[in-house]
Amino acid sequence: MAETYLDSTELVLNMGPQHPSTHGVLRVIVKLDGEKVLGTDCVIGYLHRGVEKIAENRTYTQFAPYVDRMDYVASVSNGLGYCLAVEKLLGVEATPRAQVVRVILTELNRIASHLLWLGTHALDIGAITPLFYCMREREYVLNILEKYCGARLTTHAFRIGGLQYETYEGFEQECLAFCDMFLPKADEYEELLTGNRIWVERMRGVGILSAADCKAYGVTGPMIRAAGEKWDLRKAQPYSGYQNYDFDIPTGEFGDNFDRYLVRMEEMRQSVRIVRQAVAALPAGPIMAKVPKVIKPPVGEVYVSIEAPKGELGYYIVSDGSTQPYRVRVRPPSFVNLQALDKMAKGCLVADLVAIIGTTDIVLGEVDR
């Protein structure tokens, strides 16, 4: 009979965990009415490695390389957050030179992270070309990181109390050369995308998340800024000397996909500004503060959060006075931002769901930990 053919019941569909546009092993159970999304349900944990549990069996120094493996596209930020947390627990502060070098590397890494996001997200929407260009420019950042600390992705660049490595010869010039080279390239991406009708139609008005919703879900980073909220931890609670730099917080208006894209593009330009100021202000001096060889913080607990490329990255560390942390809890931005997916995706089309996951900018290593 015709009714059984043209059945109009809901369809439950699995997207992922091996779907190319979920950026890793995320599984989304999508409830569909035709093309329309009625609801989504995220299944996570495919990349769970128990990082927080590992921390309980490692000394403070030994745990530092593991945090790089959470958000592997912005590992420098991860390391910075962890080092700041342990430093606060110890009551030491990194030396001025170390702080400035940290800012330079973190901002360069932010550019690299946003570039990777832009490239892969454009690929999801159907624009292949930006991916190649973004990867090409990202390579310059990775080369600076490689020359500085010897690794490209999982950098382990910072140590508790400062830095392990002094900057290499030509570090400042290379950073500035990258800044000069990058700004016209950013304009080029905008030329490719911002005016492109397909891009605009796919992004404008899709996946709206208002500022009130962002706050309710705890969404941070470019997503809340796209909703018009001027919230950036670098300004709100400056760390590592961010109060000394002059930069703006870009905000959007509607909180849709397009605004998130624009906010990230502008953030890269602001990062370039910070890098330039930081390179100009790079002081001489020691790179390592006085920390004991065996790190044994006093009993206590700290929570330190920083503005990672994806949002607020927090570390909560409990010390029981031994050489190993009693408990480490990470507040990963991607994990919290992913919660809002259902809210954004309700009522949109399946193809838009891909775009929404894309602009949420998740890294599954961080979601699952």
Partner: protein, 151 residues
Amino acid sequence: MKKLLRKIFLADLLEGLWVTFRNQDPKYIVTEQYPFARPKVGERYRGAPRLNTNPENGETLCISCDLCALACPENLIVVGWERNAQTKRKELVNFTYDTSRCMFCGLCEDACPVDCLELTQDFELANYSRDGAIWDRQMLEEGPKPARYKF
């Protein structure tokens, strides 16, 4: 009106194509021709481990202090040593390093007091078996010998 004309002549798409065309310039080609040309990695690159020897007499620099093994978060270094009855000094007997579990964080290298253990610029670590990933002292002193192909 201008908007309509832009729409009809697909101006925004042509602008994008122009960017693509500009980037055809050979000076923008960055693809590496590995394995025809091996990339030059940074001086501080943390790649394959190496146990350095004294260049004059070939003796190992290692003093069997075990600090690298203690520093490693993954506990993958095993230093085997024996006390020489005559000189009363520790002598290195064996040294195993499991590259399959190593994350190349560099903590062992930092811990070594005599610059013996070092992470070098060799990056070709592939091998055919899991056992092959566990390097002994001889391998660590000689370094990996990846096949060099002639084309």
